[in-house]
């Protein structure tokens, strides 16, 4: 008997980049994730995903609402996107009920309430991200802020990144399947799995030796550390240098571009300008940047 793990994937104010990144998972492949038994005796049963599901319209919404009703307390809700909360306009809606649009805020609230656990996928869902960037025209909030606002208490895992590396999501889900929901010790202060977000980019950067020698690239294409070209690796937690992207093909600094800090709650407003050197950061004391900011 194969155990079916129901998953509902809700897209809110985002760009589908998280969903496309997830398609890039190399091992297991996306086909392994959706069709095969992901672990012996367990199959991820993706009940709702607007980008790939066959159904449209009422049929699709019915699949969503039926899952919430029939699998109460059993399904994992994945939210991809920030949640517009402006009460004066419907800036984002998913389907209709009684001929009226159902706002993204309402959907997230209802679906989170009946879920087993919630995964906020991507920086928009985790921290607000681009839609919540100044001046935040739609009052977009992170999933955590929405759950707090609505008084909903559910296990929540943030998997930020713009987009997140597919391994960060697949690896987290694998952890839930093999070991159960993560404990508080498994997550950092921002509810990110430490397994993927435990170290600064700077700690594992192959250009770190240039930094330590003080050899800095002055323009794109130069050899050297990208710190003076705006790299946010010294203040950004993620394992990109070790894991690399797109099946390990390359990564941001590997292509000679500065890290823009996309896994941080501070992205984009406080990690921009993206091509300007970090200000008021005392290096090489790595890791102290955000702590110092908080003290100030």
């Amino acid at each position: 008997m194969v155990k079916e793990l129901p998953v509902v994937y809700l897209q809110t104010a985002g760009c589908s980049g998280c969903a496309v990144s997830l398609l890039n998972t190399a091992s297991p492949t996306i086909k392994n994730v959706l069709i095969d038994q992901i672990a012996p005796g367990v199959h991820i049963n993706l009940r709702f995903h607007p980008v790939i599901m066959a159904a449209a319209g009422k049929l699709a919404i019915q699949a969503l609402e039926d899952t919430a009703a029939q699998k109460q307390g059993e399904y994992i809700l994945v939210v991809d996107g920030a949640v517009p909360t402006d009460p004066d306009a419907v800036f984002g809606a998913v389907g209709e009920r009684d001929g009226k649009p159902v706002t993204m805020l309402q959907r997230v609230t209802e679906l989170a309430q009946d879920s087993l656990a919630v995964i906020a996928l991507g920086t928009c869902a985790s921290f607000g991200g681009i839609p919540a960037a100044k001046p935040n025209p739609t009052s977009a909030k992170s999933v955590k802020d929405v759950l707090d606002m609505q008084g909903i208490s559910k296990p929540l895992i943030n998997i930020p990144g713009c987009p997140p590396h597919p391994d960060w999501f697949v690896g987290t889900v694998a952890g839930v399947i093999l070991n159960g929901l993560p404990t508080a010790d498994d997550l950092d202060d921002f509810l990110r799995p430490k397994a993927f977000y435990g170290k600064l980019i700077h700690e594992n950067c192959p250009r770190r030796a240039y930094f330590d020698e003080g050899k800095f690239a002055k323009k794109f294409g130069d050899e050297g550390c990208l710190y003076e070209l705006g790299c946010k690796g010294p203040i950004t937690y993620a394992d990109c240098p070790l894991r690399r992207w797109n099946s390990g093909t390359n990564w941001v600094i590997g292509a000679g571009a500065p890290c823009n800090g996309c896994t941080q709650p501070e992205f984009p407003d406080q990690t921009a300008p993206f091509y300007e050197k970090l200000v008021d950061v005392e290096l090489p004391t790595i890791g102290a940047y955000w702590a110092d900011k908080e003290e100030k």
Binding site: C15, S16, S21, A55, A56, G57, A89, P131, N250, A255
Partner: protein, 519 residues
């Protein structure tokens, strides 16, 4: 009189709703509603202009690279360096955009569109030894069929063995498009939301190893396009030939051109490009591109009426949710006051009409294979065919371009951000004509505007009451079964709409377009 409401339209990017009024089995009226507003224009204002390249990619995670290219072209022009980009950088930009668009077309046909034509359930009858198909068969036998069921029922026409093969190709295509993304990452670091394209050129440097790695990934992509994708499009077309006469739409097509073959001209409308710039209509006679003729209307969009009818360079975006008579967050761009469709069909038809010999051969041989006249291009099948030909035309060019790279030569030109400047960047994204406009003041973004492909295609009625291209393609369609409106979703998906792109919106304050021209 019945009403069909499809909300959400799935297997597209983003949040789209369609309402169609049906009388005696025929669509009399329709409304397309874009259901998400994020306000990129407001977010961009006041930022470092260079950051537009990073931020505008986040408009859309399906086609971020095209926004990155359009933004870089826009900034190059504003910074006065559009004609100074080194050849290596021009080529690397083409390699990045080319691999990205080719894989995007594969993704669209197999993973977004195919389930409207291919019956996955036929894999239950599979008796062979293909391990992938047998794993799908096991999956079906377990009976929990998300995400393939539920679905519309009653019009799957391919024989079981063709359906089975198509499902095997669906699975294979997942791997192919992933490899296409790997090719993008070779020069652009990662994708979605890549980092390799910047104003002034690119960040990566060509070397023998990355050139060779790129070429061999492209060979895999090209092999699939030639030997699987195009034959599958023709096979589906053969079984659904009535769709060569469904969804004609407005029959006016617009393309900005893409893939610079020469970086010498600062004016993107005059550049030698792989896909040509211009317009065509039903007669397939080419017209030249004049960006002065672009205007955006908002009478039926949730924006203040005072902002209607402006050129993008003078546009303004003031949300007004609930406005009387409005039904979408998408605006309605028009060219010369008329309705124009953009997309692979437009760029293939414009390049064909302008007499490109390779494109002529591609279009004519495929129409001959279907025994269809050129008029069949304006249809559901025509759009799928054009997309496949677009993928082939691009993939066939990439290896040659990669071999033109010169390791050791420049990839980047330095510049100073001007105190005040204006810029315009034009390219053809996977989904069609994409334009970015910028106004810089005090070295910051004073205004930024994008007019994107899906806004052209999915927009609501304009101030004159002219329906947008998708609305026009749906009106007049016969719907056989109102509870399974295959015709409507097939028409919509053939356009490959991307709603995140269509509602992004922007507000450069007025200067006339002359000042946006590249100096």
């Amino acid at each position: 009189m019945g009403k069909i409401v499809i909300d959400p339209v799935t297997r597209i990017e983003g949040h789209l709703k369609i309402e169609a009024t049906v009388e005696n089995g025929e669509v009399k009226d329709t409304r397309t509603t874009g259901n998400l507003f994020r306000g990129f224009e407001i977010i961009l204002r006041g930022r470092d202009p260079r950051d537009a390249q990073i931020i505008t990619q986040r408009i859309c995670g399906v086609c971020p690279q095209s926004h990155g290219i359009a933004a870089a072209l826009n900034l190059d022009s504003a910074f006065g360096i559009a004609d100074k980009i080194p050849d290596n950088a021009r080529i690397i930009r083409n390699l990045i955009q080319g691999a990205h668009i080719a894989q995007d077309h594969v993704l669209h046909f197999y993973h977004l569109a195919a389930l409207d034509y291919v019956n996955v359930a036929d894999v239950a009858k599979y008796e062979g030894n293909d391990s992938q198909l047998n794993s799908v068969k096991d999956f079906i036998a377990r009976g929990e069929l998300g995400p393939f069921l539920p679905r519309y029922e009653g019009d799957y026409r391919l024989p079981p063995e063709v359906n089975q093969q198509a499902v095997a190709h669906y699975v294979k295509a997942l791997e192919i498009r992933r490899i296409g993304h790997e090719a993008v990452a070779i020069f652009s670091g990662k994708i979605p939301h890549s980092v390799g394209v910047v104003p002034g050129g690119v960040t990566s440097v060509p070397a023998a190893d990355n050139i060779m790695a790129y070429i061999w990934k492209i060979k895999i992509l090209k092999d699939f396009i030639d030997n699987v994708y195009i034959p599958d499009v023709l096979a589906v077309a053969g079984a659904y030939l009535d769709y060569a006469e469904i969804g004609a739409g407005c029959k006016n097509l617009l393309a900005y051109g893409s893939f610079d073959l020469d970086g010498g001209s600062p004016d993107y409308t005059m550049r030698e490009r792989l896909f040509k710039q211009g317009t065509v209509s039903a007669d397939l006679k080419p017209g030249d591109l004049d960006t002065d003729k672009i205007t955006e209307y908002v009478k039926h969009s949730w924006y203040e009426d005072s902002t209607s009818g402006l050129h993008p360079s003078q546009g303004d975006t003031r949300p007004q949710y609930g406005k009387d008579g409005a039904y979408s967050w998408t605006k309605s761009p028009r060219y010369d006051g008329k309705v124009y469709e953009v997309g692979p069909l437009a760029r293939v038809a414009v390049t064909y009409a302008k007499g490109d010999p390779v494109m002529k051969e591609l279009v004519e041989s495929s129409l001959a294979a279907l025994k269809a006249p050129p008029a069949a291009l304006f249809s559901v099948l025509g759009r799928h065919l054009a997309r496949a030909l677009s993928a082939k035309f691009i993939a066939d060019s990439l290896e040659g371009w990669a071999l033109q790279l010169k390791p050791g030569e420049p990839t980047y030109v330095e510049y100073e951000i001007p105190d005040e400047a204006m810029g315009m960047g034009l390219t053809d994204a996977a989904r069609g004509a994409l334009g970015h406009w910028i106004q810089i003041k005090d070295k910051k973004i004073a205004n930024y505007q994008c007019v994107v492909p899906t806004t052209w295609n999915v927009g609501p009625m304009d101030d004159k009451g002219q329906h947008g291209p998708i609305e026009q393609a749906i009106i007049g369609t016969k719907v056989k079964d109102e509870s399974n409106p295959f015709e409507i979703v097939r028409i919509i998906r053939a356009f490959d709409p991307c709603l995140a792109c269509s509602i992004h919106v922007v507000t450069p304050k007025g200067r006339d377009l002359g000042q946006y021209r590249v100096v």
